[in-house]
């Protein structure tokens, strides 16, 4: 296997040899949908290798926020810098940012007309101009890593939801991103399949990948997160490490949200 492939497989995200350096910078970001003020002055920073969980009630803007980080949503005010590139609407910057970030969607969004292997190798071949054979090798290693190497030549329609989402994670990892964005990755899954996806995300966290995860899975948050951000009505209400967040929430709204979500 080539050196490039080995690096891609081993630690897709690079060991945190530059910890403390901010890989995502968000400064006073405002966004409007028409006249609706959906993001109201969001500011935060994410260090390389940090795991951030974003939670909050539906409609709070958390999904919109994470989608602004790779340019799927635009912002009207404020500054967003990802891996040194600022998102200004300039297409070149957009493409550069998207090459360095990976996204996992709630609805998986696998390409139904391509096999699992082709789904994963599409990005590396056409964007990173990798050779087909090398891309296929990387893809197979990633499939092994997420636990389903035998599904390589099947089509997405033949896989269960949990398997599809794991393929989606492998697809994003194949591009060797510096930051992984997760938009409610388990919300569309049947309960018995949630843990298999969370296991993959846990393993990914252990390898040192920078992760931003929007989720309702508080158990996962408690275990894996370095920091939890609570969104409500378009603002960041509270930010704290998990033990502080769950045992000693400062805001009333946080307390209300936690009581609803932890006692159902």
């Amino acid at each position: 296997m080539s050196d490039q492939a080995k690096t891609a497989v081993g630690a897709a995200g690079a060991a945190p040899n530059q910890s403390g350096d901010d890989i995502v910078i968000v400064e006073n970001v405002h966004k409007w949908y028409g006249d609706f003020h959906v993001l109201r002055g969001i500011s935060t920073r994410v260090r390389r290798g940090e795991k951030v969980v974003i939670c909050g009630p539906s409609g709070s803007g958390k999904s919109t926020f994470i989608r602004t980080l790779n340019g799927l949503e635009s912002h009207q005010e404020g500054r967003i810098v990802v891996n040194g590139t600022e998102l200004t609407g300039n297409t070149k910057n957009l493409e550069r940012v998207r090459e360095e970030t990976g996204m996992v969607f709630q609805q998986f969004n696998l390409f139904p007309h391509l096999t699992v292997l082709q789904n994963i190798t599409l990005g590396p071949i056409w964007v990173r101009k990798m050779k087909k054979q090398e891309a296929a090798e990387i893809a197979m290693r990633l499939l092994e890593r997420v636990g389903i190497p035998d599904q390589a030549n099947k089509y997405p329609g033949q896989l269960s939801g949990g398997q599809q989402q794991r393929v989606a994670i492998a697809r994003a990892l194949a591009m060797q991103p510096k930051v992984m964005l997760f938009d409610e990755p388990t919300s569309a899954l049947d309960p018995e399949m949630i843990h298999e996806v969370l296991d993959v995300m846990r393993e990914l966290a252990q390898t040192g990948m920078t992760m931003l995860v929007v989720t309702h899975e508080m158990g996962f948050a408690r275990e894996v997160a370095d920091r939890i951000i609570f969104f409500d009505k378009g603002e960041i209400v509270e930010e704290a490490p998990p033990d502080e967040f769950f045992t000693n929430p400062k805001s009333e709204r946080t307390k209300l949200f936690l009581s609803q979500i932890l006692h159902h």
Partner: protein
């Protein structure tokens, strides 16, 4: 006896429910239960239904043969061999003394002519129109919307009569025909377009053509091998096409044109040379293409929009360039959605060609009705007409089923 029991115990218990060793039996055959009232009822209903159909059919049949007898005719298909006795204004070789059967063949060929070119033009118009409806340019979008809404909300027959009466027949007479670059002339007697014919001494060109084909095939395989060695994806067919074009262009320079153009030239009363398209054919072609093109534009637009938004987002999130997103992700999925309604639009175009009877283009239906009048054999002629259109529908359905099976996502 103890042996058996020991044997059974070793094998996991005696044979019985839950042991996993119950003998597999074939399913007992379904028997008609004659004592079951539902079965009897079902059979009775169907028999009654059949009886009614047969009775009504017999009644109609009797009336039909009566009326035919009063005209001195019987119900048969022998008229196909009779002399037609009427002229046909355009089409393949035919004269009055040919049979009705031959007349039908002429009609079918004429239908195929107009349907084939109609499908080609309508598809081009529809593709452009559909993409225009999705354009980022507001003006282009608006124009496309106007086109689609106008042509979809007015009857086709009206459009045909308009093209024929208000456009084609209003063109100037032959002597003052509209002149497009001295190549194409439009007059009230039809359109005159250049005709392409191969030159007399085509020998040299034939050699060149074969050489060009051979070279482009070689280029195709060479490029394919090159890509395989580099292990990159690409499009060897583009290279092959490019080399073919280059070689043919070279041949043009060296040997001159392989085709001569027969231009229409105005003589004393009419144009000589070139290809003459009758006003009826032109009007029908324009009308069918414009009408069906509007529907195809909507099909194309709907297909592209129906591809899930998340597909585009996922492709973009991977960093794929917009061109790649369209070509690798969106279009393959859009095609699957587009083909079934597209095929039914083609079928509609073929059926709508029968409206030519209103402007006098001698296609299948027109000739059919003339035959009906001349021979008096209304029903048999209708059966032949319907059979022709039905076989067209059947062929299309078969093709669609095959295509759908081929393209269906593996579930």
């Amino acid at each position: 006896m103890s042996d058996n029991r020991e044997q059974a115990a070793r094998n996991g218990g005696p044979a019985g429910p839950g042991s996993g060793r119950t003998r597999v039996r074939p399913r007992p055959a379904r028997r008609i239960r004659w004592d079951d009232p539902t079965t009897i009822w079902r059979i009775v209903i169907q028999v009654l239904f059949l009886a009614v159909i047969v009775a009504v059919g017999a009644f109609f049949y009797r009336n039909m043969t009566e009326s035919l007898r009063s005209l001195g005719l019987t119900f048969n298909f022998r008229w196909l061999k009779l002399q037609a006795g009427f002229g046909i204004s355009e089409g393949i070789a035919y004269d009055l003394t040919d049979t009705y059967g031959r007349a039908f063949v002429v009609g079918i060929v004429n239908t195929v002519k107009v349907v084939f070119f109609g499908i080609v033009f309508a598809s081009v118009i529809g593709l452009v129109g559909g993409l225009a409806r999705l354009s980022s340019n507001w003006l282009v979008r608006a124009l496309a919307t106007v086109y689609v809404e106008v042509f979809r909300n007015t009857p086709l027959l009206l459009q045909l009569l308009f093209w024929y009466g208000a456009v084609i027949l209003k063109l100037p007479p032959v002597r003052q025909a509209v002149n497009l670059f001295d190549r194409v002339f439009l007059s009230q007697r039809g359109a005159y377009i250049p005709r392409f014919m191969l030159v007399e001494d085509i020998g040299g060109w034939r050699v060149f053509f074969i050489a060009a084909m051979a070279v482009s095939v070689a280029v195709y395989f060479y490029r394919r091998r090159q890509l395989m060695l580099q292990d990159r994806p690409g499009f060897p067919s583009v290279w092959a096409l490019a080399s073919f074009v280059v070689l043919m262009a070279g041949g043009w320079l060296v040997l001159g044109s392989p085709v001569t153009v027969d231009l229409p030239v105005l003589q004393r009363f009419n144009f000589e040379g070139g290809l003459q398209l009758t006003p009826e054919f032109t009007a029908l072609l324009l009308g069918l293409s414009a009408y069906t093109g509007a529907f195809i534009a909507e099909v194309v637009r709907g297909g592209i929009q129906a591809v899930d938004k998340g597909q585009r987002e996922a492709a973009l999130a991977l960093g794929l360039r917009p061109f790649h997103v369209q070509y690798l992700v969106i279009i393959p999925q859009a095609l699957r959605i587009i083909v079934p309604p597209l095929t039914s639009q083609y079928l509609n175009l073929a059926k709508n060609s029968s409206l030519a009877v209103a402007i006098g283009y001698p296609e299948l239906f027109n000739i059919g009705t003339t035959t009906m009048n001349q021979s008096g054999q209304t029903i048999p002629v209708f059966l032949v007409i319907i059979a022709c259109y039905l076989s067209l529908s059947l062929l299309t359905s078969l093709f669609m089923n095959w295509w759908n099976r081929r393209l269906a996502y593996v579930q």
